[in-house]
Subunit: 238 residues, 2 copies
């Protein structure tokens, strides 16, 4: 990690607890639309299951690069239909507001302290599939001290496409190894390492809820392995 | 200004005093290289005179979009040659460091107070021809509280090309009129208004030094006209 000058962070799952945050917004929506019988966590999980397939359309070139806010909105309408709610019968303002749940996710409890310590030594930015406005509003609401808002929209490529990581290094005018991806997902780290980035794993064992089975631990010799962002700051001498 | 949700700022001249900051870095460089006879402000002005022609190569499509750090470096070498200094005889580290003068510019004295007040009500970002790293390092050093680092690199188009302003609004997922360009340059505001952005003028009568003759006042009925960022915050009810 000695050569690293910038830390770039996966965001959904690594920085913020998307599942709790989305379920928190889904619950009153279901109540307001007469569907308090549905489990808001199950709806959040169903909404999230459409995330990778939607981006895959863009990764393969079948669809041009599209802001995640737009994909989230399309996925929301599909998810509501799958649960017997017709989005055409919901007020536009209610759909738009629910879609902004992804702008209002809370960081895990260690994130702010860890990032404020890391920020003195490193350049910090998200490397997320979220669009710039989503990531910026999330940071503004929660006080996340990014030095810049990078991510898929800034480089016009979704992870884990190699261009995502390489263009992020180009924007930072750094060699790939000078940029370290921090993620709670081994797959993301594998893709970053394949094109020369440095890698740091932080465990988020409840990202997918109490029954999580994947990404419970590092599955390779990543350059740094930490229990949370505060532990990572200590390990990196911050 | 009632519909405005985001303020995007011209940076060189409007937010930071580029001329004093560049001259401050040029002075010790000239002394170290035996040319204390040269006026650092004259060298700063000469360096800056190459700014528009270099971007024009990219605006016209003769050259692909290029990070301003790269254009600044090329322009620096030309400027040194014009002043009888052969850049091939200067250590690479010295040239690289002098080029970073543009990352280390100071904001005008009203900027931080004004932006902290405006930030509570508006989304704030630079809309500058500077590249993302330049703008982010400048903000990190000076404490400028941007919500995101936008600008030419994020939208892959230099001002005053219409795409610059329109793509900035697209990134913000706002209508053009919901985005207000803040600038000390009437020409920039004209280009932004031509594609539907809202406009705010702030006078910076010493940007070009004591003998400045242009942009001393608003030359059109811009949506807001202020003497500085603190005055603008007051005028916008912040």
């Amino acid at each position: 990690m000695k050569q690293v000058k910038a830390l770039v962070f996966d965001t959904f799952g690594t920085v913020v607890d998307w599942r709790s945050g989305v379920a928190r917004a889904v619950r009153p929506f279901l109540v307001a639309h007469g569907r308090a019988d549905l489990d808001p966590f199950a709806v959040a999980d169903a909404w999230r299951r459409r995330y990778q397939p939607a981006m895959e359309e863009c990764r393969t070139g079948r669809r041009p690069f599209t802001q995640l806010d737009t994909l989230h909105r399309e996925n929301l309408e599909h998810t509501l239909r799958d649960h017997g709610i017709d989005p055409a019968g919901v007020a536009e303002a209610d759909l738009a507001d629910l879609n902004l749940a992804w702008h209002r996710l809370d960081p895990w409890p260690d994130v702010l302290l860890g990032l404020f310590r890391l920020k003195k030594k490193y350049f910090l930015a998200p490397a997320s599939n979220g669009n710039i406005l989503l990531l910026a509003q999330m940071a503004k609401r929660a006080g996340i001290p990014w030095d810049a808002i990078l991510g898929a929209e800034a480089v016009q490529a979704f992870k884990p496409r190699p261009e995502h990581y390489l263009r992020t290094a180009e924007v930072l005018r750094m060699a790939p190894a000078e940029v370290c991806l921090v993620a709670a997902h081994n797959r993301d780290l594998r893709a970053a390492r394949a094109v020369g980035l440095s890698t740091a794993f932080v465990a988020r064992p409840t990202e997918h809820g109490p029954g999580q089975t994947i990404d419970l631990a590092a599955d390779d010799n990543w350059d740094c392995v930490a229990t949370d962002f505060v532990d990572m700051a200590t390990k990196l001498g911050c």
